[in-house]
């Protein structure tokens, strides 16, 4: 009992100190505002993102060497507009009903996607067939006991190949107030792909969509990376004029607001492996593999 009392007192002291500090800062702020001076800045709360461990591979915008390397990599032809994306969608070996519902949603997402039945083909053979038919990407959705759990993206003809773990899937019909997507080419939003690996994955996602979006369709696909989890969202947006009543520090008057309607599907991806070249699990080379001894800190992220 004595030990827990001592610990309890210690915690209580800490809380008291914290409350005193906050009160002091609040009083200083009020005094400064009353005196007409600029108040001291509010202390920013520490989050995992802003206390992220420093990563040497984060790309700087002025890095010429990386720029030259990217100008010549596997995705360069796409970004130079020499090649348009053509995606081949397929499934694991024994798809169930939920797989077909997900595929129906995905076919609405990618502008130029075709579904082919798996028919027990090997992935290596599928890569060859798809390359011959001038597909630029092969996407294989994996399923385990009626649970969709993986997505393999193979960029053709020479790779790379990324395998993601897919989770938190919500189909369009399960989303409340969902809309029906049109056939307009969507805009693409890629957030927080800051490291060299993240940049490569971002370019891989970008190469699945056309370079020229149709803004008239007001459709947007978002890949948002946060703490190495990639959140996929599909929305339609509309800009509306709205009257501001002067609440929450905003000025009174007429402003423009964006309203979103989710079209679905919605899922989360986590990169497991990135392989150089096309799929070859036995003999291929890996550019990045997640290993448990890489998780040295909660503040370390790779994308």
């Amino acid at each position: 009992m004595w030990r827990s009392e001592v610990y309890g007192k210690l915690l209580h002291e800490k809380k008291r100190e914290k409350r005193k500090q906050r009160k002091k800062l609040a009083e200083e702020r009020e005094k400064a505002i009353e005196a007409g001076q600029v108040p001291p800045p509010k202390p920013e709360p520490k989050t995992l993102e802003n206390t992220r461990e420093k990563d040497d591979t984060i790309i700087r915008s002025d890095d010429e060497e990386i720029g030259e390397d990217l100008a010549d990599d596997e995705f360069a032809q796409y970004f130079n507009r020499q090649v348009s994306p053509k995606v081949l969608l397929t499934t694991g070996r024994k798809p169930t009903a939920i797989m077909f519902k997900f595929l129906a949603d995905l076919l609405h997402v990618f502008p130029d996607a075709t579904y082919y039945k798996r028919n027990n083909h090997e992935i290596k053979k599928m890569c060859e067939y798809a390359s011959k038919r001038e597909f630029t990407d092969l996407v294989v959705i994996n399923e385990d006991r009626k649970n969709i759990n993986g997505m393999l993206v193979v960029h053709l003809p020479e790779g790379p190949t990324a395998y993601f773990r897919l989770s938190s899937l919500k189909l369009s019909k399960e989303i409340k107030g969902h809309g029906k997507p049109t056939r307009h080419r969507p805009e693409l939003v890629l957030n927080n792909f800051s490291t060299r690996l993240g940049n490569r994955i971002g370019r891989m996602f970008a190469s699945l969509f056309n370079q020229d979006p149709e803004f008239r369709g007001r459709r947007v696909v978002t890949f948002h990376n946060q703490r190495d989890f990639i959140f996929f969202r599909h929305h339609r947006y509309v800009f509306e004029t709205k009257e501001d009543k002067g609440k929450a520090g905003k000025q009174k008057g007429i402003g423009i607001r964006a309203r979103l309607q989710e079209l679905g599907p919605r899922f989360t991806l986590k990169l497991q492996t990135l392989q150089k070249g096309t799929f070859d699990s036995k003999r291929g080379e890996y550019e990045w593999v997640h290993k448990p001894d890489m998780d040295t800190s909660r503040r370390r992220f790779f994308l």
Partner: protein
């Protein structure tokens, strides 16, 4: 008292750029002191060697490239002293042009090179850089290595079991490995050798790594079949680096696993932590207990093989394909080129002059409150 020497190593990447890095006493962290070559993916570096030059008390850097050319660069300036063609006079497709084996035969002052298609050439390095001889190996050659007595060349590849060739009677096959026995299912897997090295100083023991996650030891004096076979990792074995005394061999694979194989017990032991991508090149320091590795994760690692700690780790922006140690140099002579300082690890701002020294023992925590 001798001036403190900086550890130096050269790293080549897939864009054909060669960087010389230095670290050690007198230098803060790891520095990229030289950078040679323009970015050109068709001239990506496949192999890299240090060629000591006695008169200049320095070394030249020999670089084998993806298009089958071998360049000899001046160590201090990077100027191209000579260029050779591995596939001269042969009709070779682009996939088979790349240099797969390179060796500097110090006693004869010659450079040996071979390409994936099987074209082998030997050039002299004294005065003229003429082609001394050329021959043909049975390709495709995915791995090739010359032993430390410079008498034999061991090579193998996709669909080709290990062959050992006598260098003096070039083209004459001295020894060839027998195919392994079929497995329980009656299937004999297709040969695909992806790494080879001679164990120790002699030309007799050869360790090979296959694309089917196996390492096999052959004794050329004893028999044609393998003496030992061990499964290693879950992907293609990419590199093998033997310690000079032959007691230990370091194995690397395409998933970034870097593990020690004890040659006396024939057991896989401890791993070196760090790399998370395919390790394209391994180099053991000729004198010290250090191992350099470079791979597709764009990092070059220097590990202390005794304590298994990472000494230096450098991020070099592009996918790295080759690494070798260069002769150590006085830290004051090491010129500062592109500054790419990286942390020297274990909280030390200047690593100890003796990298093989063990780190201090951890303090024990006191009990209770």
């Amino acid at each position: 008292m001798a001036a403190p020497c900086a550890l130096r190593w050269a790293v080549g990447d897939e864009n054909g750029v060669v960087r010389v890095l230095a670290a050690g006493p007198g230098l803060e962290g790891t520095n990229v002191v030289k950078k040679y070559g323009e970015m050109d993916r068709s001239r990506g570096v496949e192999k890299i060697l240090a060629m000591p030059v006695e008169e200049q008390d320095d070394c030249r850097i020999v670089v084998g490239r993806k298009n089958g050319t071998v360049d000899v660069l001046e160590g201090q300036t990077g100027a191209v002293v000579a260029t050779f063609e591995c596939n001269k006079g042969r009709n070779t497709i682009s996939q088979h042009a790349r240099v797969r084996g390179m060796a500097f035969l110090q006693e004869h002052q010659k450079i040996l090179m071979c390409s994936r298609g099987g074209g082998m050439a030997v050039h002299t390095t004294k005065d003229s850089w003429d082609r001394d001889s050329g021959s043909e190996l049975k390709g495709p050659v995915d791995c090739a290595q010359v032993d430390r007595t410079h008498t034999c060349l061991a090579y193998g590849g996709e669909g080709r079991e290990l062959s050992v060739v006598d260098l003096e009677r070039q083209g004459d096959r001295a020894w060839r490995a027998r195919q392994p026995e079929p497995n329980k299912m009656g299937v004999r897997p297709r040969a695909w050798l992806s790494a080879v090295d001679f164990v120790g100083r002699g030309p007799d023991l050869v360790l090979v790594g296959t694309a089917d996650h196996e390492v096999r030891l052959y004794d050329t004096r004893a028999q044609n079949g393998h003496v030992m076979a061990l499964p290693f990792g879950e992907s293609r074995v990419t590199n093998i680096a033997s310690q000079l005394d032959g007691s230990l061999v370091w194995l690397a694979n395409a998933m970034g696993t870097l593990q020690k194989l004890d040659m006396r017990k024939h057991l896989l032991e401890a791993t070196l932590r760090g790399p998370c991508a395919s390790i394209r090149s391994l180099c053991h320091h000729p004198e010290r207990m250090l191992l350099a590795s470079a791979g597709l994760d764009r990092f070059c690692w220097i590990h202390d093989t005794v304590s298994r700690k990472t000494l230096y780790k450098s991020y070099l922006k592009n996918q790295l394909t080759a690494v070798c140690f260069l002769p150590e140099q006085d830290a004051k002579l090491v010129e500062e080129g592109d500054r790419a300082p990286t942390k020297a690890l274990h909280g030390r701002s200047n690593p100890s002059t003796d990298p093989s020294a063990r780190p201090p023992a951890k303090k024990k925590r006191g009990k209770g409150l």
